[in-house]
């Protein structure tokens, strides 16, 4: 029953897409500025069908309707309701339906909210977006139908991978999806812009908000994913340069570059071709990332939903997207002339773009090189943190420096900018760095250079904030918040990297272990029975002799029943200045437990600053709304 409803709804989405394309095509030929009512209605129907189909699947999960293969494979009656719902998008088929939801949602919103813009441009955007929707709906129906039936109906489901049963991970995919799939709308808009010759400032204004929305969500999504890795994977790290993480970082670099250069297009009416390239590239990279993650071509710790047969379809789709966009781009490309003054804001934005592209290429090479080598030479390697650290970290120094100085320049021409204060702040940053050195008694040239530029950026942001409040320049706020967040992020990662303490040892109940000025005492162990897992909880007493504080840490080993899996839950005590992180794992056939203890300074600030980066984007959206 539910299956039939779901499939019918998906077919209705497909039908409305074809009708929208047909009607939009007819309407383009009519030379007026009013989009026909029928197109609005069709879009409204389409979004309704889409949302309903997603609800149908959610209902299947809530009711544990195991006649659906997808529910059977990914759910279980003993699962808490929250995770039953989250299970809807915790698997390939369901997440593809979510993907289609976002494609349709953005298609609808773009049509409704951009009513001020050129009709031809809007209709072309709608056509391209619906071509994308058709592509993905066909993929869903042919290869990954979440409404497929299973007979006989099983009595119980197989359950969801326990390490995915985490609140951070329940919201991580939707956030990322809004971010990545949201890019589709300016992919379509870029194609439409080339077709309808709707360029320049107007075009920039039409896509700007959409870029910001998807950028904010991408930033949030990546951050939440990283938080999940920190709390759940039990390694105490938050970024592993894992291929799947890289796949999410690639579009982020492109979109960050785009977000900056679209401002140049808006203010100076130049860089049009570059903005188009970035619009196309961002979504192409999003789909590439999906391909890499879903096809199973990468061996990664968190490819949860992979299957090579899907890969062929996504690859085909990706190939078509790239070729179509390239051919159209070359056909429509006209040479632009640039005459930028060196000392202008646009020059620095271009510099930002070069850095972003450099980071993008580095991560791309690091991610794809193992695949190339495997295919061509049959050699298996993995590219890990050392590569990225060597290539990326040194460049962070000039990057942050220019990020601080760049915004001090004005658009078009800024001959009269004075740098007394900036120089003063720079020396301030050098002095603060000396204090850090004095406090931690540990030194590394590169890390401390990064400290200097990061502090320089942070302090300068405060100065900028003061000035823009004083002069009532509200439009500067988002930039200051995001840049401040970024400076803080780099600083905290640097401190965290340089001054973390990590030790590994074995303990049994009643023993203690001294590390520097900490002492860890293993008090006892207790077991608990929970709804779908059993847990073994250790009780550890942590004494800090330096500050005379006693704390209790309770790491946990969880034994899930469906499917039978062990997970290790870290005990984490977060404080403003540092995190204590303790995991325990059993050593088989012995009364000893393996303990991993870490002290990570400024951990919580990494999350705060990452959220701050995203916050900047949201503030911009709010300011824009108030303007209207």
């Amino acid at each position: 029953m539910l299956s039939n409803i779901g499939v019918i709804l998906v077919f209705l989405i497909l039908a409305s897409s074809f009708l929208i394309i047909y009607n939009a095509y007819l309407d383009i030929k009519i030379k007026d500025q009013i989009v026909k009512k029928i197109i609005y209605n069709l879009s409204l129907f389409q979004i309704t069908f889409t949302i309903l189909s997603f609800f149908a699947l959610i209902i299947g999960f809530i009711n544990s309707d195991f006649s659906l293969i997808n529910v059977y494979e990914n759910s279980h009656t003993a699962k808490p309701l929250f995770y039953k719902i989250a299970g809807t998008w915790g698997n390939h088929e369901g997440s593809l339906l979510l993907w289609i939801n976002i494609l349709v949602l953005f298609s609808f919103l773009f049509l409704v909210f951009n009513f001020k813009h050129n009709k031809k441009f809007r209709l072309y955007t709608l056509i391209f977006q619906n071509i994308l929707i058709i592509g993905f709906v066909i993929f869903l129906l042919l290869n990954s139908n979440p409404f497929s039936l299973i007979y006989p109906v099983p009595l119980e489901g197989l359950g969801l991978n326990p390490i995915l049963q985490d609140p951070a991970l329940a919201i991580h995919p939707p956030l990322l999806y809004i971010g990545f799939v949201g890019c589709s709308i300016y992919f379509s808009a870029a194609m439409a812009s080339m077709f309808s010759e709707y360029k320049g400032k107007e075009f920039a204004l039409s896509i700007k908000s959409w870029i910001q929305i998807s950028w904010c969500f991408q930033t949030l999504g990546i951050t939440v994913g990283s938080i999940w890795a920190y709390y759940e994977l039990g390694w105490g790290g938050f970024w592993f340069w894992d291929p799947v993480e890289n796949a999410s970082l690639l579009p982020w670099f492109a979109i960050t570059a785009l977000m900056h250069s679209v401002m140049v297009l808006e203010k100076r009416n130049t860089l049009y071709a570059w903005v188009i390239i970035l619009c196309l590239l961002t979504f192409i990279l999003s789909v590439t990332g999906t391909f890499l993650v879903r096809s199973g071509i990468l061996n990664s710790v968190h490819t949860f939903a992979s299957d090579p047969s899907r890969g062929i379809y996504i690859l085909l789709f990706l190939g078509m997207m790239i070729f179509t966009s390239l051919i159209i781009f070359f056909k429509k490309y006209k040479k632009e002339s640039y005459n930028f003054n060196l000392k202008t804001r646009e020059t620095f934005i271009l510099v930002n773009n070069w850095f972003m592209i450099f980071f993008l290429v580095t991560v791309l090479v690091g991610t794809l090189y193992p695949i190339f080598l495997d295919v061509i030479a049959d050699v298996k390697i993995s590219v890990g943190p050392p590569f990225y650290n060597i290539v990326i970290i040194p460049l962070v120094v000039p990057f942050l420096f220019l990020m601080t100085v760049g915004p001090q320049f004005k658009w078009i021409n800024s001959q009269n900018v004075k740098f007394y204060k900036t120089t003063f702040i720079f020396f301030g940053a050098v002095i603060i760095n000396l204090f850090i050195y004095y406090f931690f008694e540990n030194y590394s040239v590169l890390t401390n250079l990064i400290f200097i530029v990061a502090i320089f950026l942070i302090l300068h942001c405060f100065l900028d904030a003061k000035q823009s409040i004083y002069k009532n320049k509200k439009f500067e706020y988002p930039r200051i918040i995001s840049h401040l967040g970024f400076g803080l992020l780099v600083l905290c990662i640097g401190i965290n990297h340089q001054y973390s303490l990590e030790v590994d040892f074995n303990l049994k109940i009643g023993e203690n272990k001294k590390i520097n000025n900490y002492e860890i005492y293993f008090e006892n162990i207790k077991t608990e029975q929970n709804k779908n897992y059993q847990s073994v909880i250790g009780n550890f007493k942590l004494t800090d002799f330096k500050r005379n504080i006693v704390q209790y840490l309770d790491p946990e080993i969880r034994i899930y029943s469906d499917p039978e899996t062990l997970t290790y839950e870290a005990a984490i005590k977060s404080k403003i200045t540092s995190d204590f992180y303790l995991t325990m794992s059993n050593v088989s056939r012995s009364e000893y437990y393996n303990i991993k203890f870490q002290n990570k300074p400024f951990m919580i600030w990494i999350w705060i600053s990452a959220f701050m980066i995203a916050l900047g984007g949201f503030v911009q959206l709010m300011l824009k709304k108030n303007e209207n």
Binding site: S295, P308, G311, L315, L318, L326, R589
Partner: protein, 173 residues
């Protein structure tokens, strides 16, 4: 028609990327070492757990057959197969056994062998487990039977069972 070099470069680049992806999809990507029979083992050099000497592939060339067994004191199934290893070393002079102590502490390993008996002619330590990967090991216990030319003739994943024990005896006849 004017041929535009940059266009050609970009297009061939895209074609290259996509075809690599396509080839990558066709490839079996699972890490699998079942098919290593017939391959030669790679060169290695590992410290003995008893003294400061090193054991390398040269040591194995002198033996007619060598069974390379990967074990650890923390590994329960290793205890289960231990009796078969002891039998092999007592019964047969054609086969030598090299034990590679996987991700373990020296003292624990020595204690383990003192408790259960030592079937090994050589015992090498691989504290970090990195060298074992070169042998195509992904979990222990695993055993590899090689001849004097260092070619792998049998691979056993998991503890040695009676059937596999007989097979080893047949192979070295």
């Amino acid at each position: 028609m004017k041929i535009n070099i940059s266009k050609i470069i970009i297009f061939s680049f895209v074609v290259f990327f996509l075809s690599i992806f396509w080839l990558g999809l066709k490839k079996d990507n699972n890490y699998d070492t079942k098919n290593i029979i017939g391959n030669k083992i790679s060169n290695f050099q590992l410290p003995s757990i008893y003294n400061n000497k090193f054991i390398s592939e040269e040591t194995l060339k002198e033996n007619k057959f060598t069974l390379i067994n990967f074990f650890a004191s923390w590994c329960a199934p290793c205890r289960a197969e231990h009796q078969y290893l002891l039998n092999l070393s007592n019964k047969n002079n054609d086969i030598k056994i090299l034990g590679i102590n996987f991700k373990d502490k020296k003292n624990n390993a020595i204690g383990f062998l003192n408790e259960l008996g030592n079937p090994y002619d050589f015992v090498a330590g691989d504290t970090e487990g990195k060298a074992s990967i070169l042998f195509g090991i992904y979990g222990i216990p695993e055993s590899i039977l090689v001849n004097s030319e260092l070619v792998i003739i049998k691979k056993i994943i998991g503890p040695i069972n009676p059937k596999q024990y007989e097979e080893i005896l047949q192979l070295i006849q």
